[in-house]
């Protein structure tokens, strides 16, 4: 084995690789096979709706990974990650909007419907180039990355940390939300971008396109996971953990805390943008609702439920909570917010290490010991 593959292999433990392999087989082969090859009506058939829903969860998992990278490892709790997710989504949405061409309701080949509706006579400059996929893909990475770089540079340089960073990042996403709600901003206002027809020539309403998007998202999740794993197991990753635990001390040791934080924050924003770009074609709409501060806070709880600083926990948390949301909003919508609220409180009070932490303490026997100690204390 060459040095690169050896280093790649060293990123995970043996059991970690086995788990990844099993999940990949399920995600990449079994789920699409059950959808495409098993006939409808069979017990084992997975409907396209569920494949698309799984695809959505995968995007959330990427987003959760991005957040875990900065919160779990660098101690930066961003409550504005919805901004990066949404901007990535908008960039992709703009590409698909331009692909509609003259198939729109108003049939104007040069302008999206909402611009015709607003009596605009030409495309604004910031829409130029979005008829090319490569340009849109570049923007998916560049726009969130640039925003995060500027925002992070301003914040970290002034040593804004902890809750202040959280509050300021929330203000940022709030400001973006207000701006995108305006019709004049030129992104469809309240309604956002929707009615997409196809992506790279594939018809979005076809099942095969949906399964294809799901497969692409699964691979993207694997890649993002590997990138994050590579970052946190590098020297930089150890520096970030040190920053998280004792920022001043790291600074006094001569490290550039600002640069380290800025790098990881920008990387996280780019990953969030990619998640947004994969999300929009699968749900078929992007609107300013993605920028509401509440959504950005909710992302933090995915990570917290799964277990911070574990990467794997972020994926578990994103799947668990979004699965619970799909189930509860279908069965008893009014219970959902009670459930989510209680989850916020219980996770922070009772299981700060999240599900992964609970699993670990069960495996190591700590939990059993703790319970036994508790019982003995009660007996005495």
């Amino acid at each position: 084995m060459g040095p690169i593959s050896r280093r790649l292999f060293a990123l995970e433990s043996r059991s970690g690789w086995i788990a990844i392999a099993i999940l990949l087989v399920i995600g990449l082969f079994i789920v699409p096979a059950l959808n495409l090859m098993v006939p409808e009506g069979s017990l084992f058939h997975i409907s396209t709706f569920w494949v698309a829903t799984l695809g959505k969860y995968l995007c959330f998992a990427i987003l959760a990974l991005a957040l875990d990278l900065i919160w779990g490892y660098a101690g930066i709790l961003s409550l504005g990650h919805g901004a990066f997710f949404g901007l990535g989504g908008y960039a992709m949405g703009m590409y698909m909007m331009r692909q509609i061409g003259d198939r729109s309701v108003y049939g104007n080949p040069d302008l999206p419907d909402f611009m015709v509706f607003l009596n605009w006579d030409s495309l604004p400059w910031y829409w130029w180039g979005f008829d090319q996929f490569w340009f849109a893909a570049l923007m998916v990475v560049l726009v969130p990355g640039l925003l995060a770089f500027v925002f992070g540079w301003l914040a970290f340089r002034s040593r804004i940390t902890g809750v202040y960073f959280s509050i300021i990042s929330q203000a940022m996403v709030f400001a973006i939300m207000l701006a995108f709600f305006r019709n004049e901003t030129g992104f469809g206002g309240n309604n956002g971008l929707t009615d997409f027809k196809d992506i790279l020539g594939f018809n979005l309403s076809q099942d095969s396109t949906k399964v294809g998007l799901y497969v692409v998202t699964t691979i993207a999740l694997l890649l993002v996971y590997m990138i994050c794993r590579a970052v946190v197991s590098s020297k930089l990753g150890r520096l970030l953990i040190a920053v998280r635990d004792a920022e001043s001390r790291v600074r006094f040791l001569g490290y550039s805390v600002t640069n380290a934080k800025l790098f990881v924050f920008t990387l996280s924003a780019v990953l969030a943008g990619v998640a947004g770009a994969l999300y929009v074609p699968q749900v078929g709409i992007i609107n300013p609702g993605e920028f509401t501060p509440a959504k950005s806070i909710e992302m933090a709880i995915w990570v917290a439920v799964g277990g911070r600083g574990t990467l794997f926990g972020a994926i578990v948390g994103a799947f668990t909570i979004n699965g619970a949301r799909t189930y509860l909003t279908g069965v008893a919508p009014e219970v959902w917010l009670f459930f989510l609220g209680a989850l916020f409180i219980l996770v922070t009070l009772v299981m700060p290490q999240g599900l992964v932490g609970v699993y670990r303490s069960i495996r190591s026997g700590e939990l059993k010991d703790a319970i036994r100690r508790r019982i003995q204390r009660v007996d005495v």
């Binding site: 203000a171 940022m172 305006r182 009014e334 409180i345």
Partner: protein, 560 residues
């Protein structure tokens, strides 16, 4: 101080004139023996109303107007409403009210019953729209000579807004009789407005001179119309010298209006600032003093607003109607208690386990806020709840120059200052305030001195929450009471506290009013929403410059 509301102006005018008519009718009927010598002329004019041609009727109406007798009001009113009839037997004019098959008659001049008649004995006196318009003007003119100054004031406005041929002479004579300064001033502008259209350039120039002192946007547009060109290319104002004066008058009024515009921005900024301050002041206690990030702060405001709603409903059911307006006063302590109780529950049940872990506190209190929102939604429904403005805080105050402020906003500014002053005094002078500051400054030492720090924590949090609840009472008067009420304020109130400086009440006050005023000055330039975005960006940039100055807080460190 005239109390008006632009949106309701036309409805109010209708209501007002109904009242005016009733009052004048009473006036007309209660003095039948007044001015004997005029009776003959009055009766002549009244019987002329029964003339065949509209021309003659018009002349009669005008005669009644010039004549200025209040007793003509009943007849004119009846004529425009189609209740005035001519009796065929003696050709006399009567007011007839239909009662089943017969008509009950009244003599318009005396108000005395004139017997009954069937429809065959009567002939309706017909009015057309032109005549009705004239009658409206004449009735207004009659009101000009009323002894009630409120009626006169309204009559002046009415005559000026719809002038007729004789209006100028009437206004002039009214001006000479007028004793009250503000009505005379209004009459003067009215006369000048009418003289602006006169044929004599000297008269027009004098009128322009007088109008140049005003600050009414309507007069400005009136003057500007004189500067326009007619369809044939000639100026509306034919005299070049007068035109130059009009030009100058317009620019003088413009200067003054710009000042008023500035004042308007300032007043609205202060109003917005007081709303921000109310929303943030509770946070200044929990976040600023205790260093606790309470994301459920907005929900405390919401609980206060819903408490107001409940108190209102209780008052509606249990109290007499005249006491209903005071539900708002009763809601203040109620909202404080409700929100403070929830505050204690949250602090004891959740936040106290998380001191020193600010990010966890943030997430846990966010969970609390979700639960409270859903609780209110389940109890009261997702729709907006109607909280009525009591009479004593509805209406608007006009400042001049077309600027007016709603009374509720004024009350909120006052209320907000009272709350802040009370809070500052409480923290400064009360025993509990002393303990609170002691725990903030040095927890261990305070504990050693016998202060129960846990209790102080709980009560401080309760105080901050209670104040948020009180803010909810005020905000229920100007914004929608819905489960999302709190969400609308959470980002703003955090911005105010962070911008103003954590841990300082003064900082919060300065921050709130500063942001409010900046916001309102930006709005005309960039639009309301973009203005807000710009303010947020300014704050984000501003704390780059002054991170320590604004972030230096002496409370229990929120960053471990």
């Amino acid at each position: 101080m005239s109390v008006t509301n632009n949106a309701d102006a036309s409805r109010m005018r209708t209501v007002f004139f109904s009242i005016l008519f009733v009052l004048l009718s009473l006036l007309a009927f209660s003095f039948p023996a007044h001015a004997q010598q005029n009776d003959a002329a009055l009766n002549a004019a009244l019987s002329d109303l029964n003339a065949r041609s509209f021309k003659a009727k018009t002349a009669a109406v005008q005669a009644l107007g010039v004549y200025g007798d209040a007793r003509a009001v009943a007849a004119l009113e009846a004529l425009s409403e189609g209740r005035l009839y001519g009796r065929k037997s003696d050709k006399s004019v009567v007011i007839a009210e239909r009662d089943g098959k017969i008509y009950r008659l009244t003599d318009p001049a005396t108000g005395v019953s004139a017997g009954e008649a069937t429809s065959r004995e009567l002939k309706k006196i017909i009015a057309n729209n032109k005549l009705r318009g004239l009658i409206r003007g004449v009735l207004g003119q009659l009101a000009l000579s009323s002894s009630d100054s409120e009626l006169r004031r309204a009559a002046v406005e009415n005559v000026i807004s719809s002038p007729t041929g004789g209006s100028l002479a009437l206004l002039k004579s009214a001006r000479d009789r007028e004793t009250e300064d503000d009505i005379r001033a209004r009459l003067e502008t009215g006369i000048a407005t009418l003289e602006l259209g006169s044929d004599d350039p000297a008269l027009r120039r004098a009128a322009v001179d007088r109008l140049a002192d005003g600050n009414d946007p309507e007069i400005k547009s009136l003057l500007e119309r004189r500067l326009l060109k007619n369809a044939d290319g000639s100026f509306v104002e034919s005299d070049a010298q007068v035109r130059a004066e009009v030009q100058e008058a317009v620019s003088r009024i413009n200067d003054r209006l710009a000042l008023f515009g500035l004042a308007e921005d300032l007043i609205f900024g202060i109003s917005l600032g007081s709303v921000l301050l109310l929303a943030a002041i509770g946070l200044a206690v929990t976040f600023g003093v205790m260093g606790v990030i309470n994301m459920a702060h907005g929900e405390m405001i919401m609980l206060g607003a819903y408490t107001t709603f409940v108190v209102q409903e209780v008052f509606r059911v249990t109290m007499p109607a005249e006491a209903f307006g005071f539900y708002l006063l009763a809601a203040i302590p109620a909202a404080f208690l409700v929100a403070a109780t929830f505050g204690i529950l949250i602090e004891r049940g959740c936040i106290r386990f998380l001191y020193g872990r600010p990010l966890e506190t943030l997430l846990a209190t966010w969970g609390v806020s979700l639960i409270l929102q859903q609780m209110v939604r389940s109890l009261f429904g997702a729709n907006n709840r109607e909280v009525a403005n009591p009479d004593w805080i509805s209406g608007a105050i006009s400042i001049g120059g077309g600027v007016s402020v709603t009374v509720s906003r004024v009350y909120i500014v006052i209320f907000c200052l009272v709350v802040v002053a009370a809070l500052a005094a409480f923290i400064r002078y009360s025993r509990f305030g002393l303990q609170m500051r002691a725990v903030t400054q040095n927890r261990g030492m305070a504990s050693a001195m016998g202060i129960r720090t846990g209790q102080v924590d709980a009560l401080t949090f309760a105080l901050g929450s209670g104040i948020a609840g009180v803010a909810g009472v005020a905000l229920s008067q100007i914004s929608n009471v819905s489960p999302n009420l709190g969400q609308n304020f959470i980002v703003d109130s955090f911005m105010v506290v962070v911008f103003g400086g954590v841990g300082s009440l003064w900082g919060t006050i300065v921050g709130a009013f500063g942001l409010g005023i900046v916001n309102k000055f930006l709005e005309p330039v960039s639009g309301a929403i973009l203005g807000k975005v710009v303010v947020l960006v300014i704050i984000i940039l501003f704390i780059q410059k002054r991170p320590r100055g604004l972030f230096a807080f002496k409370g229990r460190a929120a960053e471990g």
